[in-house]
Amino acid sequence: MSIQERVLWLSRRAFLGGAGTLVALPFLQSLAPRRARAAGATPPKRFLSWYWACGIPAIGDWKPTTYGMNWQPSMLLTPLAPMKNKVTVLSGLKNAGHGPDHTYGTGAFLTGSDFANGKINQSIDQVIADSMQAAPSKPPIHSMQLGPLDTNCEPFGNCGFLQNVSFGPTGTPITKETDAQNAFNRLFMGASPMASDPAIKARQALRKSVLDAVNKDATSLSGLLGKDDKARFDEYLTSVRKVEDQVSAIGAGGGGTAMSCSGAKMPNGLTMTAKPVGDLLESEINAFTSVMALALQCDMTRVISFMMTAGGTKYAPMGYTDYHLGITHHGVSDWQPKFRTVVTWIVTKFTQFLQQLDAIKDVDGVSSILDNTVVFCSSEISDGNRHNHDDMPVLLAGGLGGIIKPGQHIQFSKGEYFADLFMWIAKNMGVPPMTKFGDTGTGKIASLV
C-alpha cells in the first residue's frame, strides 16, 4: 500500500485513541459541494432512532409526573435537564411484538410487526430512506445502521432480531456496522485528506467501473436464478446499487444538499482516550455519536438507526461485570440500583449526543442540526423485569424543521403504538401517505400536542 492509501484506512486504534481529529479541514473542503452555504436554504429533515436494550427498572422511575411544557425530569431523566426544551417525552405508547419478550420486541422496534403471521415487514427508517432516495437532492448514503458489537445474543434469543432493528423490504435484517472506525471510513469512502480532488475523482471512477461490472453481471444472473436463490440474491443487488450511489456522489464532490461541511470537526467533549479492551464501551459509543454527527453535518445520510446497547452488554465503565440482561432480571439483591445507574448513564450519553447535534449549525445558518432532525429513542421493552411492551419509555428529540414543538410531556391513552408515531413522522417527512404501517400502525396519532 502506498502512504496515501495507508492514511486512507486509518487504523481503528488511532481512531479510538483520539486521532479521529485527522479529519482535517482541507479534506472536508475538497469534498464539500461547490455550492456555498446559502442563506435561507431549507435544511433537510432527518430521522434517527436510538435503541437501548432491556428497558428500565420501573416506569415510575422514568415518567415525569406533570404534562405539557412544565414537566420536571424524573429520577432516570435527570441527565436530560440541559436539553429538556429540545426533547418531547412520550408516555403511554405501545411497542408491538409477540408477547412480552426481548426478541420480538426488538424485531418490532421499528417495524410495528406483531408476528402473528410469522413475518416481519420493512422498518420505518428504511421506508423513509427509500422515499428520500426518490427525491432529486438525495443524500449519497441511503441509511446507516450502527452500534457496538454484541457477541452474546445467542443465549438470549434470535440474533437476527436482537442484533438489528432495520429490516429491508422483504423483512431481511440489515446488518449493522459494529466498528465506529469502519463507519467513519465509509462516510468518505476512505478518501485521503492528502489526496487532491483529481486523485479522489480518478479513484472513484475506477471504483465505479468495478461496481458497474458486478452490477451488470449480478443483474443478468438474478433473472436466471431459482426462486429461493433469487430472494437472497436481491440483498446483493440492492447493496451494490447503494454503494454505487455513494461512490458516484463522492466522485461528483460531496453530499446531496447545499450544505458545507468544511467547518466539520470531531465535536467537542469526547473522551476518546485509549482504554484497555473491556472498558471500550464508552469510547466506542462516543466514537459512534461523533460519526453520526459528522454524517449529518456533511449530509452524507439523513437516516441512521443506532443500537447503543444489547442484552449481552457488560457495563464495565460502571464496574458491572455480568451481562446487562442479568442485572435486569431476577431477584439479585443489588440489581435495581445497578439498573438505575445503567439507565441514567444511557440517558446521559443520549443527552450528550443531542448536545453534539445542537451545537452544529444547519444549512440555513440559523437552526441547529437537531432542530431539523427527529430522534426516536426507546427500548424493546418497558419494565426490565416484566418485559411489558406497553407504557413504553420514549423520548422524541429534535424539532423536525418546526413540525415538532419540543419540550413537552405528552400522555397517550388510546392504545397508540410506536407504528402510529412512525406514520405521523413519515407523513411529515414527505413519505406518501400510508393507511397502515406494519401490523399495528393505523394512523391513531394526528398531531403531537
Binding site: K119, K176, D179, R186, V210, A213, V214, D322, G331, D383
Partner: protein
C-alpha cells in the same frame, strides 16, 4: 420475508405448563422420542421414514471462509478489513439464514479487493503474477487470458460449467480490453479493475450450486461443499478435477483432505485443522473463552492465558476423537466415549489449576510431569468432556456457577433439546426488591424459582442437570463446598426423571443415551449443510444418517463420513416444475 425460526415461535407458545423444544423437530423434551433411552440400542430410533435432502438457498462465504480463501490462493499477508462478524443460527456461522449481505459487506469486499490486488501487483506473495504473459505489450488476448484464469480459480468452477446461468465472463474481460470501456486507463489500471471486480463478483462472494432436474448437485458444487466443510476454504485443483459424483472418489478425497502421510508418520492436513478447531469451537461454545472474564476478586487465578489453555485442552481432546485410520497413535474412538474417556493433555498451567483444589496429582487426574490426563483412578473427580475446565467455565457466571446455563448447555449441545427463553412475565412474580444475601445453596435458591409453575415447566428440565454439576466452580475447579460455604449435594436428574449423583454418573448416563449420537449427527449435519435441520422429514434424515454411521458404536470419522456421503450433502430437493 425473513422466516422466523420454528423453535423461537414454539417458544412463544410456552406459557404455563408444557416446555417443548427439541431442536429442529418439536419432539417433547420431557421424554425420549421412542423406546428406552437407557438401552441405547439403535432399534428404538425411528427409521425408514420419508425425508428430502433439503434446500439450502444461495449461501455467501462466511468471514472466516472469505479470509482463508484469499489467503490460501493468493498468499495474501494482509489482515481482512472490516468484514462484519457473521450471525449464527443453531450455534454455527455456516447456516445460510444468518448470512445476510448488506452495503457494509459490499464496501468491505471492495476495500479488501483493492488491497489484495495491489498486494498481488506489488509483492505477488503466491507467485501468481510472475506466470502472467506481458499484458502491457501483448494486447487483449493476453489480458483476457489472465482474467479468465483468475476468474476460473476465484469462482471455483470451469468457465464452461456454469450451465444455464452462464459465466458472465465478458463483463469482466471487457474491462481489460484496450478498446473497451476503460480504454482511457493504463493497462495496469484496467487489469487491476478487472481482478477487483472478479473478487467482488457474486460468483466469488456466493457459492453457486448447480443441480440437475432431480436435485443432484454437480461435482463442482460438491467440491465446494466438501472444501468449505473440511478446510473452511476453496477447493484445490485436485478436488476440482475429481469426479465427486462417484461416491468412491468422494470418499477418497474426503480422506485425502484430512490426513497426509502413512502409518505412524501420518498427520492432519494443516487446512483440516480448521475443522478440528472451528467445529468444536462453535458446537461447544469454546470460542467464548478468548475474551471471557471472571470477577478478579472471586477468581484471582483466572487469566486469559488460563482460558486459552482450557480451550486448547478441549480442542486437542476433540481432535483425538477424529483419529487417523492407519496411525496407531491416533485411533478412531467411539463418539459416545467423548463423555467418558479418561485421556487428554493439558499445559502445566492448567494442570496446576486442576490440582490447586484437587490436591494430589493422581487425585486430580494429571500425570504431573507430562501434563498427560489420566482419569482412570476412582478418586479422580473428573471424566470425559463435561468436567473439562473449558465447559465448566463457558457455562459459568462472573462470580459463581450458573446451574441453569449448565443444564441448558447439556440439553442443547449434547441432547439437541433447546428449552425456550423464560416466559416473560414469569419473572414479575419474583420479589423484585428481595435482598438475596442469604447463605443458602444454589439448590435452595433455584428450588424457589421452580415453585412457580410457569417457570418450573422448563427449569425442571435444566436445573436438576446443572445442580448435579455443582462440584465444579465457575472456572472448572473441583470443590465440595459452594460459594456460600454450604456442602454440595450433587444429586441431579435428567428430564425423564432418571436420577444421578454428580458429573461422572451423568456423563455415563448421557453416553448410554441414544440421543447423544443423533444429536452429534445433527450438529455435524447442520454445520456441513448450512441449514438448521428443522424441515419436515429431517428427524428421519438424522435417523438414517445415524444408522449409516454405525449407530451407537460410530466414531467421529464415521459420523462425518456419513454426512458427507449422504443425500443431504450431495443433493438438494428438486424444485417443483
Amino acid at each position: 420475508m425473513f422466516p422466523i425460526r420454528k423453535l423461537t415461535v414454539a417458544a412463544l407458545a410456552v406459557g404455563l405448563g408444557a416446555c417443548s423444544g427439541q431442536i429442529g423437530s418439536g419432539g417433547a423434551a420431557g421424554a425420549p422420542p421412542t423406546g428406552d433411552p437407557g438401552s441405547g440400542g439403535t432399534g428404538s430410533i425411528p427409521n425408514g421414514g420419508p425425508y428430502t435432502p433439503g434446500t439450502v438457498p444461495l449461501k455467501r462465504l462466511t468471514k472466516v471462509e472469505y479470509d482463508n480463501t484469499v489467503r490460501d490462493w493468493l498468499g495474501s499477508k494482509l489482515p481482512a478489513f472490516d468484514l462484519p462478524e457473521d450471525g449464527r443460527e443453531g450455534g454455527f456461522d455456516t447456516v445460510y439464514s444468518a448470512l445476510q449481505v448488506s452495503d457494509i459487506h459490499l464496501i468491505a469486499y471492495q476495500k479488501n479487493a483493492e488491497a489484495i490486488v495491489d498486494e498481488l501487483f506489488a509483492t505477488d506473495p503466491a507467485g501468481i503474477k510472475k506466470s502472467w504473459c506481458d499484458y502491457t505489450a501483448a494486447g487483449d488476448a493476453c489480458a483476457t487470458k489472465i482474467v479468465t484464469d483468475f476468474a476460473t480459480r476465484a469462482w471455483r468452477r470451469p468457465m464452461d460449467k456454469w450451465g444455464a446461468i452462464g459465466n458472465g465472463l465478458s463483463t469482466y474481460t471487457d474491462l481489460v480490453s484496450a478498446t473497451g470501456s476503460l480504454a482511457a486507463q493504463t493497462a495496469d489500471d484496467r487489469l487491476k479493475t478487472a481482478l477487483q471486480s472478479i473478487l467482488i463478483s457474486p460468483r466469488f462472494i456466493y457459492r453457486f450450486e448447480l443441480a440437475d432436474k432431480t436435485g443432484q448437485l454437480d461435482t463442482y458444487s460438491v467440491a465446494s461443499r466438501l472444501s468449505y466443510l473440511l478446510w473452511s476454504s476453496a477447493p484445490d485443483e485436485a478436488l476440482l478435477s475429481a469426479n465427486l459424483l462417484d461416491p468412491m472418489v468422494l470418499e477418497e478425497q474426503f480422506l485425502r483432505m484430512q490426513v497426509s502421510g502413512k502409518g505412524a508418520s501420518a498427520s492432519y492436513v494443516p487446512k483440516f485443522q480448521r475443522f478440528l478447531t472451528r467445529f468444536p469451537d462453535l458446537w461447544l461454545s469454546l470460542d467464548q473463552l478468548p475474551g471471557l472474564t471472571r470477577d478478579a476478586t472471586v477468581f484471582p487465578g483466572f487469566s486469559a492465558e488460563l482460558a486459552s489453555d482450557m480451550r486448547a485442552e478441549t480442542l486437542d481432546y476433540f481432535s483425538r476423537f477424529m483419529g487417523m485410520a492407519d496411525n496407531p497413535q491416533y485411533p478412531h474412538h467411539a463418539l459416545t466415549e467423548i463423555l467418558t474417556a479418561s485421556f487428554g493433555m493439558v499445559t502445566p498451567r492448567l494442570a496446576d489449576h486442576y490440582c490447586s483444589v484437587d490436591g494430589t496429582a493422581a487425585a486430580c487426574g494429571i500425570k504431573s510431569a507430562s501434563g498427560e490426563v489420566d482419569l482412570t483412578k476412582a478418586a479422580s473427580p473428573r471424566l470425559g468432556l463435561l468436567t473439562q475446565a473449558s465447559i465448566m467455565t463457558v457455562t459459568g457466571a462472573e462470580t459463581r456457577t450458573a446451574p441453569v446455563r449448565r443444564g441448558r448447555w447439556v440439553l442443547e449441545k449434547l441432547m439437541c433439546q433447546s428449552p425456550p427463553p423464560p416466559p416473560a412475565d414469569a419473572t414479575a412474580q419474583i420479589q423484585k426488591t428481595q435482598a438475596d444475601t442469604r447463605m443458602i445453596s444454589q439448590r435452595q435458591r433455584l428450588a424457589e424459582h421452580r415453585v412457580n409453575p410457569s417457570c418450573a415447566a422448563c427449569h425442571n428440565l435444566m436445573d436438576p442437570i446443572g445442580l448435579g454439576l455443582e462440584n465444579y466452580d465457575a472456572i472448572g475447579r473441583y470443590r465440595t463446598r459452594d460459594e456460600s460455604g454450604m456442602a454440595i449435594d450433587a444429586a441431579g436428574a435428567l428430564p425423564d426423571g432418571r436420577a444421578f449423583q454428580g458429573a461422572k454418573e451423568l456423563s455415563n448416563m448421557l453416553a448410554a443415551d441414544s440421543r447423544l449420537g443423533s444429536c452429534m449427527i445433527r450438529q455435524l449435519a447442520t454445520n456441513a449443510t448450512g441449514r438448521l435441520m428443522d424441515a419436515a422429514g429431517d428427524e428421519n434424515l438424522v435417523a438414517s444418517l445415524l444408522a449409516s454411521a454405525g449407530g451407537k458404536s460410530m466414531t467421529m470419522q464415521d459420523a462425518l463420513r456419513a454426512v458427507v456421503l449422504s443425500e443431504a450433502f450431495r443433493r438438494r430437493t428438486a424444485e417443483a416444475p
